[in-house]
């Protein structure tokens, strides 16, 4: 089903209403629902959090927009609640963390493949391999400290093996900024991709900063501290991709379009019928928000939103295993580094970043220590090598 964003006005803002009971629905099943249901829930929570964050900043700089921003934020606050409360309470913070990294890996890999601008794609590939490594470190932590298997969450969609080592992901701030796209020439999907990744990485950062101190084990506390620092770098990276010359209203419209796009993608693929209805409902809510922003754009900038927005939505996000692409990218780019705003080879690494990471790692690296000698095996590293059923596995390749 194609969605005509110019004609479809969705649900009117004053009809976007909730009750407390409605906000707190029965969660998905950690055991029975597809891993990508968890991925979508985590992603959309992050998208709504970004939307609220943006609108608060926008309100601070634009007094004439404060009322409509506050009205839309009220709906989005409750959308975020309904989505985030779908996470089940038997899912521990570390298990949820595994879900966060699966979002980062599978989503970034899809977006990178769908990104027409080679530089932006390069940046996404760069971030992808770092989040990929985080998964391996957290899986080791889960196995070694809690005696649990990360794959019960991942459901075999996502590999658990080293990426670009977390210990070398630490960079000087100057090496985290990237070159922004140009708003006049960038394709709409590039703009959407940038803001999706900012949303996902920011919520990951915020989540690690919230749950990190709840862990008792010192290695767990250190690992969250270390990876949260990388997530902050990733926010810096992806944030810098958007053109700072875009007006507030241009950014706002693109943000609402992104929400329509992501909810629409979720609704298209959701396997849990109850949750699918939530995604469908929120596609309509976001269309409502988009049209409020479009009307304000016409009113305050005297321009046609079609100058900024595409005529139709891009191909929906494919929520599926991107294993092949991730492995190929890993094989080709694991040694890449950043120097200034460019992604470079190992030999061209930044001296600023080398000095910074040597300083941070000088008392040891939590991410190295937690995974020392670690190879994921079905169930646990304590199990004998094999496929978990007492048989040996064949060699696998990309």
């Amino acid at each position: 089903m194609a969605l005509d964003i110019m004609k479809e006005r969705g649900t009117a803002l004053n009809k976007q209403q909730f009750t407390w009971k409605e906000l707190v629905q029965v969660p998905y099943s950690k055991l029975d629902d597809d891993a990508f249901t968890r991925v979508r829930v985590i992603l959309m929570n992050g998208i709504e959090a970004e939307s609220l964050r943006f609108k608060h900043m926008c309100a601070r700089f634009n007094p004439h927009l404060q009322v409509p921003l506050a009205q839309i934020r009220r709906a989005e606050q409750h959308q975020q609640t309904m989505v985030n409360w779908l996470n089940p309470p038997d899912q521990s913070p570390l298990e949820t963390t595994i879900g966060f990294e699966q979002v980062a890996i599978e989503l970034t890999a899809f977006l990178a493949q769908n990104e027409p601008d080679p530089y932006l794609k390069q940046v996404m590939d760069f971030g992808l391999l770092e989040d990929f490594d985080h998964m391996y470190r957290y899986a080791a932590l889960m196995d070694r400290v809690e005696g649990r298997d990360a794959n019960t969450l991942l459901q075999c969609y996502t590999d658990i093996l080293p990426g670009r080592p977390t210990s070398v992901e630490h960079r000087a701030p100057e090496d985290d900024l990237r070159v922004n796209y140009e708003k006049a020439t960038a394709s709409p999907i590039s703009k959407l991709n940038a803001v999706i990744l900012v949303a996902a990485e920011t919520q990951t950062h915020d989540y690690y900063m919230t749950v990190g101190p709840m862990f008792a084990d010192p290695t767990a506390r250190q690992l969250y501290a270390e990876i949260a620092s990388i997530e902050e770098q990733h926010v810096t990276q992806y944030e810098s991709l958007s053109d700072p010359k875009e007006t507030w209203l241009e950014k706002w419209m693109m943000l609402e379009l992104m929400e329509v796009y992501t909810y629409f993608s979720c609704a298209k693929q959701e396997s849990n019928p109850r949750i699918k209805k939530i995604w469908e409902r929120f596609v309509d809510y976001e269309l409502g928000h988009l049209h409020v922003a479009m009307d304000l754009f016409r009113q305050h900038e005297n321009r046609d939103p079609a100058e900024v927005l595409p005529a139709s939505l891009p191909e929906p996000i494919d929520f599926s295993s991107q294993r092949k692409y991730v492995r190929e990218t890993l094989a080709e780019q694991v040694d890449f580094r950043a120097n200034g705003r460019q992604i470079v080879t190992l030999q061209e690494d930044s001296q600023l970043s080398i000095a910074y990471r040597q300083r941070m790692n000088r008392e040891g690296s939590p991410s190295e220590r937690v995974a020392a000698g670690y190879q994921w095996r079905p169930g646990t590293e304590l199990a004998p090598k094999g496929n978990g059923h007492g048989h040996s596995t064949r060699q696998v390749s990309p």
Binding site: S29, P378, A383
Partner: protein
């Protein structure tokens, strides 16, 4: 060196340290009527209402092997019991796997702590850890032989993991001493002993005699774990309290 005794310090949590403020606090609370009539039953009603939706935390995975499918198809009643058995088998398996890691944590507490006069010795903890790992591996083999998937998180295993969250928090926290950590281990061993007894009862109808014998052997070892841990905890507690009184 981590100490095992609790000392007197600046604990601020009770009201006795704030004689003036506590009176104001009490008087203020007593003077203000509740915002609405009623009692805690409203919270219970919410639990009941959500439970009425009937959504479980999850289900058992379908059988992996032909043997597992056959058990399910040939005899519905037996299939149902087999399901219960595999669920509890998955619980024990997950518990022993986590148990191995719990003893890793106790060993690190042991290394950081002043020794407890009545034990444990390091070798005793190492032996228990090794036995937990052997039990895990044995359960894994039995699960495979019964047509189950030893990597699947069964509903009972999930509940047990939620139960164990507090134990992980105690054992992981470097501020909680060896004695306090052994108290957490005591909870684990008590639950584990009960779990093995139930599993053996199920195994008598759902598994062959050799499986029952292996389980009985594991229970015998777990009983020794429990009695040892219980003895260490009591000795550490009573001895400390006794010496404090003597002083």
């Amino acid at each position: 060196m981590m100490k095992n005794q609790v000392e007197i310090g600046k604990n601020r949590t009770g009201i006795a340290l704030s004689p003036i403020d506590s009176q104001l606090l009490i008087q203020g609370a007593e003077a203000a009527p509740p915002s609405m009539p009623g009692n805690e039953s409203a919270i219970n009603e919410a639990r009941t209402a959500y439970a009425a939706d009937g959504a479980p935390i999850g289900t058992m995975p379908p059988p992996v092997t032909i043997r597992g499918i056959a058990v399910g198809l040939v005899d519905a009643a037996k299939g149902k019991n087999a399901n219960v058995f595999l669920d509890k088998l998955g619980e024990r398996l997950a518990f022993e796997r986590t148990g191995t890691r719990l003893y890793d944590a106790v060993l690190s507490k042991f290394d950081a702590s002043e020794p407890l006069p009545a034990g444990p010795a390091r070798a005793e903890l190492e032996q228990i850890k090794a036995e937990e790992a052997v039990h895990f591996e044995m359960l894994r083999e039995v699960m495979v032989s019964m047509g189950g998937d030893p990597t699947a998180l069964t509903p009972s295993a999930d509940v047990a993991a939620v139960n164990s969250m507090g134990l992980l928090q105690v054992l992981g926290d470097p501020r909680m001493n060896l004695k306090q950590s052994l108290e957490a281990i005591l909870v684990a061993e008590l639950v584990d002993n009960d779990g093995w007894e139930t599993l053996i009862e199920l195994a008598r109808t759902e598994a062959n005699a050799s499986v029952v014998r292996r389980f009985e052997q594991a229970l015998a070892e777990e009983q020794v774990h429990l009695s040892n841990v219980r003895r260490w905890v009591r000795a550490a507690t009573v001895q400390r309290e006794g010496s404090a009184t003597a002083r």
